[in-house]
């Protein structure tokens, strides 16, 4: 069995889609009719006591698996891990029973203050030691392996002696974590720093990738900006094809955070990802529906 099951193809759960998604899920007469196989939430947006977000999440969770994606673990920060945040994450996970929990390879806090951004790390041995120790702590607290995502970046450090993919591979080897491969972020960072996106993919252990993100970005002339406000572009689709060829069928998600279009448009991109995966894997291995794992699928009762 895979460490991180292939949940199928999903989308990020965003407020404009709450009601139409719930209606479409409830109207589906079989899993094949569902608009999505699963959804991903931004963990911090649901670390609240009640109200509409938690109510909608309970209803969605009753229909499909949910994955928790955080932005505030700040794994690379030299600040101590935020124990209150970790406890809130644990509490949310107890309630949601997510298929898995993920966050980013970055730092986002310093001196007790938060930046609400995903700041890049210098890929050094010191940083690797630091992040690996913190990933182990987080996994112990959460009692599960986590997925770590590569971020889009706009700067690299002159003293970095390791590539990003070497850093991620070493992190997997040292901690047993999985990877959330953001294909758009690879595309953006490769352009901004002039490395080969294909080399990035080939540098990762084949069985390490538990989830894939696809998203859009903006061309600012001097650099690509990871904006999540456009459809996935052709270059990213091509790179996704290469990722599927290398990593096989992996739970794949469309992220859209700005200029959010109607649900149908985001679902159409998710279905395009599913079709592309089937096209690639059809020639390589048998293709079935999403892997069904006990305790991970939809629940019989709302929370």
């Amino acid at each position: 069995m895979r460490r991180f099951p292939h949940l199928g193809h999903g989308i990020g759960l965003r407020p404009p889609h709450y009601q139409p998604l719930l209606q479409a899920l409830r109207a589906a007469r079989s899993p094949l009719e569902r608009p999505v196989d699963w959804v991903e939430i931004i963990s911090e947006n649901f670390m609240v006591e009640g109200g509409n977000p938690r109510a909608v999440l309970r209803r969605i969770r009753a229909e499909v698996p949910v994955v928790m994606h955080g932005v505030s673990l700040s794994l690379g920060s030299v600040d101590p891990l935020d124990e209150q945040y970790l406890e809130a994450l644990r509490a949310l996970a107890r309630d949601v029973e997510p298929a898995w929990i993920s966050d980013h390879l970055c730092w986002s806090s310093f001196g007790g203050h938060t930046g609400h951004d995903l700041w890049p790390l210098p890929f050094t041995e010191e940083a690797l030691d630091h992040v690996a120790a913190r990933v182990l702590t987080v996994q112990e607290r959460l009692q599960r392996p986590v997925l770590i995502e590569n971020v889009s970046s706009y700067l690299q450090f002159a003293h970095a002696g390791i590539t990003e993919w070497e850093f991620l591979s070493a992190l997997v080897a040292r901690t047993g974590c999985g990877l959330l491969l953001d294909v758009n972020n690879v595309f953006v960072s490769a352009h901004n720093h002039g490395f080969s996106a294909q080399a990035f993919l080939e540098g990762l252990p084949p069985d390490s990738v538990g989830q894939i993100h696809l998203a859009g970005h903006r061309d600012e002339g001097t650099h690509l900006l990871d904006t999540h406000d456009h459809p996935v572009c052709d270059g990213v689709w091509d790179l996704y094809r290469a990722a599927v060829t290398r990593f096989g069928g992996v739970a794949t998600l469309i992220e859209r955070d700005e200029d959010i279009p109607p649900l149908d448009e985001v679902v159409a991109e998710s279905r395009r990802a599913r079709a592309l995966e089937r096209e690639v894997l059809g020639a390589l291995e048998p293709v079935g529906g999403p892997t069904v794992i006990p305790g991970v699928g939809a629940r019989a009762h709302a929370l």
Binding site: N45, E49, G50, G111, L155, G161, G194
Partner: protein, 271 residues
């Protein structure tokens, strides 16, 4: 690892420098100058190229830091932003982020201290701005405050008079009372200026929507009492104590009208 470790600053040194430069309100180059550093001081730390130099690359992060938070606060405080105007709101947030650096993992909390910060500002002769911000912030906080099952009129109608009088109730958690020195309804609706007229606002969530309205002195006394478990009979007594000079029957009828309104507004829950 294929490469030998290179000499460079420690992780802590990198983060201390970058945090300071990325959160400086002036942008990276002036922040470097303020530290007595030359514009090319980052060249040995950040790998630039002909498209973007080191400072320009770090400026991308500096801009994202500020404008992401500005966007969130503009969305959370739309009436405050409209009352101030774009430039003044931008300047306010610049000052606010220096005085109250974000310290909570969730962006939801980034505006929590803005009303208090506004109270410390001159406000251009408009002291009501802090009250407007407090009201907008309260709406935000109650939007996802704790849930409770509201008491329904059907449930009350099924009670005997004795059970009704002794039923323990309390206000739902998703409510707040705000004492204001200015009457803000005109500016809340998008026009006019607030009048200096003290009032207390009841803010609460019904289903997924947050509402507010002004309350009378007598209703306020009942609301304060209902913050803790209380019987409906006791609530009527609180009302009577706050309203003198009226006959008992009329007082009870008035108190019941208020309680009925609370039930309609989904404000009451069983204690």
């Amino acid at each position: 690892m294929p490469s030998e470790p290179r000499q460079g600053p420690s992780l802590a040194e990198v983060q201390a420098l970058l945090y300071e430069l990325m959160t400086a309100p002036t942008g990276v180059a002036p922040a470097l100058a303020a530290r007595g550093l030359a514009a090319d001081a980052l060249d040995g730390l950040i790998a630039g190229d002909q498209r973007l130099g080191a400072v320009a690359r770090l400026d991308l992060y500096a801009n994202m830091y500020f404008f992401r938070i500005l966007d969130v606060l503009r969305e959370e405080f739309p009436r405050l932003a409209a009352a101030l105007g774009g430039d003044a709101f931008h300047d306010l947030i610049t000052d606010y982020l220096l005085a109250a650096r974000p310290a909570h993992p969730s962006l939801r909390e980034v505006g929590a201290r803005l009303p208090a910060f506004l109270r410390t500002q001159a406000g251009g002769g408009r002291p009501w701005l802090a009250e407007l911000a407090a009201l907008e912030r309260t709406h935000r906080e109650l939007f996802d405050a704790a849930d409770a099952d509201p008491l329904t009129m059907a449930a009350l109608q099924g009670l005997t008079p004795e059970a009704f009088a002794t039923l323990p109730v309390r206000l739902i958690p998703a409510h707040r009372l705000l004492g204001q020195a200015f009457e803000l309804s005109a500016v809340w609706e998008g026009g006019g200026s607030p009048e200096a007229r003290p009032e207390t606002l009841l803010v609460w969530r019904r289903d997924a929507t947050v509402h507010h309205r002004a309350v009378t002195t007598a209703e306020l006394a009942m609301l304060r009492r209902a913050a803790e478990p209380v019987t409906l009979a006791d609530l009527c007594q609180v009302f009577a104590g706050a309203r003198t000079g009226t006959d008992d029957e009329a007082l009870v009828a008035e108190a019941f009208q208020i309680i009925a309104r609370w039930v309609d507004d989904a404000l009451l829950t069983r204690a």
